[in-house]
Protein backbone atom coordinates (compact mmCIF):
# COMPACT_ATOMS: atom_id res chain seq x y z
CA UNK A 1 0.00 0.00 0.00
CA UNK A 2 1.29 3.57 0.34
CA UNK A 3 4.66 4.09 1.96
CA UNK A 4 4.85 5.86 5.30
CA UNK A 5 6.35 9.15 4.11
CA UNK A 6 3.71 9.52 1.43
CA UNK A 7 0.69 8.70 3.58
CA UNK A 8 -2.23 11.05 3.01
CA UNK A 9 -4.61 12.00 5.77
CA UNK A 10 -8.25 12.90 6.23
CA UNK A 11 -9.88 14.70 9.12
CA UNK A 12 -13.58 15.20 9.67
CA UNK A 13 -15.77 17.15 12.05
CA UNK A 14 -18.91 15.11 12.66
CA UNK A 15 -21.78 17.27 13.91
CA UNK A 16 -24.95 15.36 13.11
CA UNK A 17 -26.41 12.35 14.86
CA UNK A 18 -29.37 11.19 12.80
CA UNK A 19 -29.36 7.84 11.00
CA UNK A 20 -29.07 9.37 7.52
CA UNK A 21 -26.36 11.87 8.48
CA UNK A 22 -24.34 9.19 10.24
CA UNK A 23 -23.53 7.58 6.89
CA UNK A 24 -21.30 10.12 5.09
CA UNK A 25 -18.64 10.39 7.83
CA UNK A 26 -18.43 6.65 8.50
CA UNK A 27 -18.47 5.70 4.80
CA UNK A 28 -15.68 8.17 4.05
CA UNK A 29 -13.66 7.26 7.14
CA UNK A 30 -13.72 3.51 6.47
CA UNK A 31 -13.04 3.92 2.76
CA UNK A 32 -10.19 6.36 3.29
CA UNK A 33 -8.65 4.03 5.86
CA UNK A 34 -9.00 1.13 3.40
CA UNK A 35 -7.18 3.27 0.82
CA UNK A 36 -4.27 3.76 3.19
CA UNK A 37 -5.05 7.21 4.59
CA UNK A 38 -4.67 8.19 8.23
CA UNK A 39 -8.14 9.22 9.36
CA UNK A 40 -9.29 11.34 12.31
CA UNK A 41 -12.89 12.02 13.27
CA UNK A 42 -13.88 14.72 15.73
CA UNK A 43 -17.38 14.16 17.16
CA UNK A 44 -19.13 17.26 18.41
CA UNK A 45 -22.67 18.32 19.31
CA UNK A 46 -25.21 15.80 17.95
CA UNK A 47 -22.41 13.90 16.25
CA UNK A 48 -21.25 12.79 19.68
CA UNK A 49 -24.27 10.45 19.94
CA UNK A 50 -22.66 8.33 17.20
CA UNK A 51 -20.08 7.23 19.78
CA UNK A 52 -22.63 5.93 22.28
CA UNK A 53 -22.37 2.24 23.17
CA UNK A 54 -25.91 1.53 22.09
CA UNK A 55 -26.93 3.31 18.93
CA UNK A 56 -30.60 4.11 18.47
CA UNK A 57 -30.42 6.35 15.42
CA UNK A 58 -33.49 7.89 13.88
CA UNK A 59 -34.37 10.05 10.93
CA UNK A 60 -36.75 12.95 10.74
CA UNK A 61 -38.61 13.95 7.62
CA UNK A 62 -39.22 17.38 9.12
CA UNK A 63 -37.68 20.22 7.11
CA UNK A 64 -36.27 17.83 4.54
CA UNK A 65 -38.10 18.41 1.24
CA UNK A 66 -35.47 16.41 -0.68
CA UNK A 67 -36.25 13.26 1.25
CA UNK A 68 -38.56 11.32 -1.03
CA UNK A 69 -38.87 7.66 -0.08
CA UNK A 70 -39.62 4.99 -2.68
CA UNK A 71 -43.20 3.86 -1.94
CA UNK A 72 -45.96 2.36 -4.07
CA UNK A 73 -43.71 2.48 -7.15
CA UNK A 74 -43.11 6.22 -6.84
CA UNK A 75 -41.26 8.67 -4.60
CA UNK A 76 -43.19 10.17 -1.73
CA UNK A 77 -42.04 13.25 0.19
CA UNK A 78 -43.49 14.18 3.55
CA UNK A 79 -45.12 17.60 4.09
CA UNK A 80 -43.87 19.29 7.29
CA UNK A 81 -47.35 19.27 8.77
CA UNK A 82 -47.52 15.45 8.47
CA UNK A 83 -43.95 15.07 9.80
CA UNK A 84 -44.99 16.74 13.01
CA UNK A 85 -47.55 14.02 13.80
CA UNK A 86 -46.29 11.66 16.52
CA UNK A 87 -45.21 8.32 15.06
CA UNK A 88 -44.35 9.62 11.60
CA UNK A 89 -40.62 9.88 12.28
CA UNK A 90 -40.65 6.40 13.85
CA UNK A 91 -42.38 5.02 10.75
CA UNK A 92 -39.93 6.80 8.46
CA UNK A 93 -37.02 5.41 10.49
CA UNK A 94 -38.37 1.86 10.21
CA UNK A 95 -38.82 2.32 6.49
CA UNK A 96 -35.26 3.63 6.10
CA UNK A 97 -33.82 0.72 8.12
CA UNK A 98 -35.72 -1.76 5.93
CA UNK A 99 -34.39 -0.09 2.78
CA UNK A 100 -30.85 -0.16 4.16
CA UNK A 101 -31.11 -3.91 4.72
CA UNK A 102 -32.80 -4.62 1.42
CA UNK A 103 -30.22 -2.69 -0.60
CA UNK A 104 -27.17 -4.25 1.02
CA UNK A 105 -26.10 -1.00 2.67
CA UNK A 106 -23.91 -1.43 5.75
CA UNK A 107 -25.29 -0.65 9.20
CA UNK A 108 -23.73 2.25 11.10
CA UNK A 109 -22.63 -0.25 13.77
CA UNK A 110 -20.72 -2.24 11.16
CA UNK A 111 -19.07 0.84 9.65
CA UNK A 112 -18.15 2.13 13.09
CA UNK A 113 -16.52 -1.11 14.16
CA UNK A 114 -14.72 -1.32 10.80
CA UNK A 115 -13.42 2.21 11.38
CA UNK A 116 -12.14 1.26 14.83
CA UNK A 117 -10.48 -1.90 13.50
CA UNK A 118 -8.79 0.22 10.83
CA UNK A 119 -7.30 2.49 13.51
CA UNK A 120 -9.41 5.51 12.63
CA UNK A 121 -8.66 8.01 15.38
CA UNK A 122 -11.84 9.19 17.09
CA UNK A 123 -11.98 12.25 19.29
CA UNK A 124 -15.02 13.02 21.42
CA UNK A 125 -15.62 16.71 22.10
CA UNK A 126 -15.11 17.33 25.82
CA UNK A 127 -17.33 20.41 25.81
CA UNK A 128 -20.23 18.49 24.24
CA UNK A 129 -19.79 15.74 26.85
CA UNK A 130 -20.17 18.36 29.60
CA UNK A 131 -23.01 20.17 27.83
CA UNK A 132 -25.18 17.10 27.30
CA UNK A 133 -24.00 15.35 30.46
CA UNK A 134 -22.31 12.32 28.99
CA UNK A 135 -19.50 10.43 30.69
CA UNK A 136 -16.83 8.25 29.11
CA UNK A 137 -18.86 5.25 30.31
CA UNK A 138 -21.62 6.19 27.87
CA UNK A 139 -19.21 5.88 24.94
CA UNK A 140 -17.61 2.93 23.17
CA UNK A 141 -13.99 2.03 23.89
CA UNK A 142 -11.51 3.84 21.69
CA UNK A 143 -12.33 7.56 21.42
CA UNK A 144 -10.05 10.07 23.13
CA UNK A 145 -11.38 13.27 24.63
CA UNK A 146 -10.33 16.58 23.15
CA UNK A 147 -11.33 20.08 22.24
CA UNK A 148 -11.18 22.54 19.38
CA UNK A 149 -7.41 22.96 19.61
CA UNK A 150 -6.95 19.19 19.35
CA UNK A 151 -8.97 19.19 16.14
CA UNK A 152 -7.22 22.24 14.68
CA UNK A 153 -3.81 20.68 15.29
CA UNK A 154 -4.98 17.53 13.48
CA UNK A 155 -6.45 19.62 10.66
CA UNK A 156 -3.22 21.53 10.06
CA UNK A 157 -1.52 18.20 9.36
CA UNK A 158 -4.27 16.68 7.21
CA UNK A 159 -4.54 16.71 3.43
CA UNK A 160 -8.35 16.69 3.49
CA UNK A 161 -10.54 18.34 6.12
CA UNK A 162 -14.30 17.91 6.04
CA UNK A 163 -17.15 19.35 8.08
CA UNK A 164 -20.18 17.08 8.08
Amino acid sequence: MTNESNTKSLSMIVTKGSLDWAYPPFILATTAAAMGLNVSMFFTFYGLTLLKKKLDLKISTLGNPAMAMPMFGMHVAMPNLVSAIPGVDAAATTMMKNLIKKKGVASIEELRSTALEADVKMIACQMTMDLFEYTKDDLIEGPELGGAATYIETATKSDINLFI
Binding site: M1, T2, T30, T31, A34, M35, G36, K103, A106, T114
Partner: protein, 75 residues
Protein backbone atom coordinates in the same frame (compact mmCIF):
# COMPACT_ATOMS: atom_id res chain seq x y z
CA UNK B 1 -7.16 -17.84 -12.07
CA UNK B 2 -6.98 -15.53 -9.10
CA UNK B 3 -5.47 -17.00 -5.96
CA UNK B 4 -8.45 -15.92 -3.81
CA UNK B 5 -12.10 -15.23 -4.46
CA UNK B 6 -14.32 -12.71 -2.68
CA UNK B 7 -18.07 -12.63 -3.26
CA UNK B 8 -19.67 -9.29 -2.36
CA UNK B 9 -22.71 -9.63 -4.59
CA UNK B 10 -25.68 -7.73 -3.17
CA UNK B 11 -23.53 -5.44 -1.04
CA UNK B 12 -23.53 -1.71 -1.60
CA UNK B 13 -20.92 1.06 -1.31
CA UNK B 14 -18.54 1.09 0.53
CA UNK B 15 -18.74 -2.60 1.54
CA UNK B 16 -17.20 -4.09 -1.65
CA UNK B 17 -14.09 -1.94 -1.15
CA UNK B 18 -13.92 -2.56 2.61
CA UNK B 19 -14.27 -6.33 2.20
CA UNK B 20 -11.70 -6.35 -0.62
CA UNK B 21 -9.22 -4.43 1.49
CA UNK B 22 -9.68 -6.97 4.30
CA UNK B 23 -9.33 -9.92 1.92
CA UNK B 24 -6.18 -8.48 0.31
CA UNK B 25 -4.39 -8.78 3.66
CA UNK B 26 -4.57 -12.57 3.27
CA UNK B 27 -3.23 -12.53 -0.29
CA UNK B 28 0.51 -12.98 -0.68
CA UNK B 29 2.39 -10.12 -2.34
CA UNK B 30 2.24 -10.79 -6.05
CA UNK B 31 -0.91 -12.88 -5.59
CA UNK B 32 -4.31 -11.95 -6.92
CA UNK B 33 -7.81 -11.49 -5.54
CA UNK B 34 -10.94 -11.84 -7.65
CA UNK B 35 -13.92 -9.82 -6.45
CA UNK B 36 -17.48 -10.52 -7.62
CA UNK B 37 -19.88 -7.60 -7.11
CA UNK B 38 -23.25 -6.34 -8.26
CA UNK B 39 -22.78 -2.68 -7.26
CA UNK B 40 -22.28 -0.75 -10.54
CA UNK B 41 -20.46 1.98 -8.57
CA UNK B 42 -17.74 -0.56 -7.79
CA UNK B 43 -16.34 -0.24 -11.33
CA UNK B 44 -15.01 3.27 -10.83
CA UNK B 45 -14.34 2.66 -7.14
CA UNK B 46 -12.02 -0.30 -7.68
CA UNK B 47 -10.10 1.74 -10.27
CA UNK B 48 -9.68 4.57 -7.73
CA UNK B 49 -8.88 2.14 -4.91
CA UNK B 50 -6.12 0.49 -6.92
CA UNK B 51 -4.64 3.78 -8.18
CA UNK B 52 -4.50 5.15 -4.63
CA UNK B 53 -3.21 2.03 -2.87
CA UNK B 54 -0.79 1.08 -5.64
CA UNK B 55 -2.30 -2.36 -6.13
CA UNK B 56 -2.77 -3.43 -9.73
CA UNK B 57 -6.23 -3.78 -11.25
CA UNK B 58 -5.47 -6.64 -13.61
CA UNK B 59 -8.96 -6.86 -15.09
CA UNK B 60 -12.45 -5.42 -14.72
CA UNK B 61 -15.28 -7.25 -16.45
CA UNK B 62 -19.05 -7.39 -16.54
CA UNK B 63 -20.94 -10.61 -17.17
CA UNK B 64 -24.69 -10.35 -16.96
CA UNK B 65 -25.27 -8.22 -13.90
CA UNK B 66 -22.13 -9.35 -12.11
CA UNK B 67 -18.91 -7.38 -12.16
CA UNK B 68 -15.63 -9.13 -11.63
CA UNK B 69 -12.39 -7.46 -10.69
CA UNK B 70 -8.98 -9.07 -10.43
CA UNK B 71 -6.62 -7.20 -8.14
CA UNK B 72 -2.94 -8.02 -7.80
CA UNK B 73 -1.44 -7.23 -4.44
CA UNK B 74 1.78 -5.35 -5.11
CA UNK B 75 2.95 -4.44 -1.62
Amino acid sequence: MASQLLDVKGLNCPLPILRAKKALKDVAIGGTLEVLATDPGAVKDFEAFCRTTGNELVSSKEEGKVFSFVIKRTS
